[in-house]
Symmetry: C2
């Protein structure tokens, strides 16, 4: 993505063109549930007509079907919010092949060996909005993008330290020292590959949705195990945590209009055209009205972490760029997340104002060094969409994990049973640990990844 | 600062005008050392001709002159790097007066009471570059800017929670609830005032330097005590740490081209004009050369935390926007810090490329709740310019503090003695804890603030 591209795409010089009505050239993305749920009940995945909490089934893989590392999975559809479950999930083995370079003179000639060079595992959750299509495309595509991006740099992952030149050819004798001084490690190549894969997947989704005349976007939370490390990449408001006997550690941060306020206000400051005179980029405790004119009220601008007072002018009465609190906070009155995939066509209702320039598809990546961690039998990573975290805190989830696992050591499906129990805990049943009235009506999807099972699984 | 202003200032449409030769309309800012050093030796503050480490005097306030909270201070001039000591310091009592509002109908009519409403204390270090003028102006000015900014919001600091309207007048009955939901506390007003004060001071310095035909910039590290809290605001590469018997806690982060790489690359991505075709915004382990053309080499762009490989094109051979490692890292080949005050006229040598759009004057503010901390006799905050931290780690400083204070309980000047000892520890003397060859030739200035002395000092 270049600056020129950004300007051509988002800053037309003349009056803004009307949004193009999508002209479908391909068939719509068919709705589906994750492949690993096959045989586990209603294949349409839509809930039955009533959608009472007790009538919505919690689904998980059939007994006998095992996911990577014997991970558990469960999901529930929302309570009448949408026809389809807009969450999607994917997992599997990640096989990275090595591209052998020819001799130096023939560097353009590559032999793609079919040899598996590096294997890892992959678990992903996608929480869709504006329709299920983007999440389905992401579930179908992101792992392939990641494999491609990893294969493009896998030669650099061979050595203890990535070489300056991918070919391994040393042009300057002190190149290894430059790389050393920058502190560049193999894991930085995996982080870079994850960042590039999210961007590539976002482009694929943009093209596919345009071709099929569909719309929508999704968040993406991905865990990847590779060479003794677990990488967690997040773009959106899903969350992953590590739960051990005496530790609860967040492995991701949420990206919402509130958590990314300064970045979003900064872009509106640099390119006020993006707001088309319809929004104010300033933050106030509430939307201002005529009575506030001339008064000094609390406000924040892009450069501020603290608050100050400003004298209210007429332009401050416009609708705020970021409005609402907590789960109600919206970007341009439209979107509850500030990172994710898709949404290429999304505009503010009845305007030409586009959401996409304010959205990032780049994930934040955290790295868990499994070798250092020495995982114990009941150490797990819990990954879930926001429907779980809206009603359960990290500590509550950790307590549920610790209370469930020790009593179920003999059950080979205990991690899926745990995932199901976590979901049932969000449905306001009698034995639920959540407060009265705190019930999730959203789609909820949960992976429970037992780290001990991953010991020795990674090759090379 | 508006986007229009930014574009007019930094993005002229025609060819860039030559930098205006400064036309002095005011007399130069006179060189001086901090006022509280009066009577403590050579008043010029320049070192004697030899500048051998053992000949450069460590200066601190004369015995009998006490700083706020009985804080200690010491400084040493650099070893022949510049004629003057480019560090500056300031401290004092901060008296915030209350502006009484008239009755509602007369809101434009204000009575400025001379009553002291709120008092606090202030300690500040400024590390100049390109001449001493900016740091002197900052030491003369920033506390007044801060007082003005605090007085502008002090009415909002009266109540337990800042009111939506500064007047206290409630226009919407649920206004307190909106403020509560945003989690806005009194300390957010102080943080906002610090952020605004740094910006105001930066503008003053810009005007004053232009008027006097001088140039230069400085970092700023400020500690402010107010209503039971200690606020540490930092813009640049100075550092403050809290040292307690069993805890060492950083109270600031450094802002350098390396730590702010993504923000700086992002601006160059959005406005490539700022680089005038002379620099590449991409990061490589070293500067590329002709032999690298067509090779795949390690690189990072603005959206990346990780690293990847790219095929080298001709434009990648340009000088990098950020170049060098660690203490040698430079922004546009020119500046070692990415935040601070001044530098309005600074351009890349022999070009019209301006540094200022890449620099931020906004500080990052951390808050220490003194009431919760319950400071003990020997709990101190150590604030120092980068000359100290270049050769001593936080842990080394903490060890020196803990080894010095208990044996010197009877000395009323022990905190200045400690500051002097810390500085001597950077000069490579026999009993120095630093490694062979790790000697500071830079200006070094140190405040040691004993927190126990601050107990009960703050009013209201």
């Amino acid at each position: 993505m270049s600056a020129d591209w950004f300007r051509r795409r988002f800053l037309p010089r003349g009056p803004l063109p009307a949004p193009r009505p999508p002209r479908p050239r391909a068939s719509p993305v068919p709705y589906r549930r994750p492949r690993f749920l096959r045989g586990s009940g209603s294949s349409s995945g839509t809930a039955d007509a009533s959608r009472r909490p007790d009538a919505r089934p919690v689904r998980s893989p059939v007994r006998g079907r095992s996911l990577p590392w014997n991970a558990g999975y469960a999901e529930i559809i929302n309570a009448e919010k949408s026809e389809f479950n807009e969450d999607q999930a994917a997992c599997g083995k990640l096989c990275i092949r090595r591209c052998e370079f020819g001799v130096e003179e023939d560097q353009e000639w590559l032999t793609l060996c079919s040899e598996e060079f590096l294997t890892g595992h992959y678990w992903a959750l996608f929480d869709g909005h504006g329709g299920p299509a983007a999440a389905i495309l992401a579930a179908n595509t992101l792992h392939s993008c990641l494999r491609r991006q990893l294969e493009a740099v896998v030669e650099g992952m061979v050595a203890t330290q990535p070489p300056m030149h991918l070919s391994g050819h040393c042009i300057c004798p002190s190149d290894p020292q430059f790389v050393e001084e920058k502190g560049i490690r193999t894991e930085d190549l995996v982080i870079g590959a994850l960042e590039s894969a999210f961007q590539e997947c976002d482009e694929v989704i943009g093209r596919e949705l345009e071709a099929s005349g569909q719309v929508g976007g999704c968040t993406a939370l991905v865990a990847v195990s590779l060479k003794g490390k677990l990488y967690v990449a997040n773009a959106g408001d899903s969350r992953a945590i590590l739960v051990r006997r005496d530790e609860v550690r967040p492995l991701s941060s949420e990206f919402t209009p509130e958590t990314e306020r300064q970045r979003i206000q900064q872009l509106a400051f640099i390119y006020p055209e993006l707001l088309a005179g319809e929004f104010t980029r300033l933050e106030f405790p509430r939307r201002l009205k005529g009575d506030d004119l001339g008064q000094k009220v609390l406000f924040r601008d892009h450069h501020m972490s603290g608050w100050s007072y400003k004298c209210v002018e007429k332009s401050d009465l416009k609708y705020p760029l970021i409005h609402g609190q907590g789960r109600q906070a919206r970007l341009l009155g439209t979107l509850a997340v500030s990172r994710g995939l898709g949404d290429h066509q999304l505009r503010v209702l009845d305007t030409n104002i586009q959401l996409k320039p304010f959205l990032l598809s780049v994930p934040q990546v955290t790295v868990l060094n499994m070798d250092q961690l020495e995982p114990q039998e009941e150490d797990v990573v819990v990954m879930a969409t926001d429907g779980l975290w809206d009603v359960l805190s990290n500590e509550q989830v950790a307590r549920l994990v610790r209370s469930f696992l020790p009593g179920n050591r003999e059950d080979p499906h205990r991690f899926s049973e745990l995932a199901k129990m976590l979901i049932r805990s969000t449905q306001g049943t009698d034995d639920s640990p959540i407060q009265e009235g705190q019930v999730s009506y959203d789609d909820v999807s949960v992976f429970v990844i037992p780290l001990h099972q991953g010991q020795g699984h990674s090759s090379h």
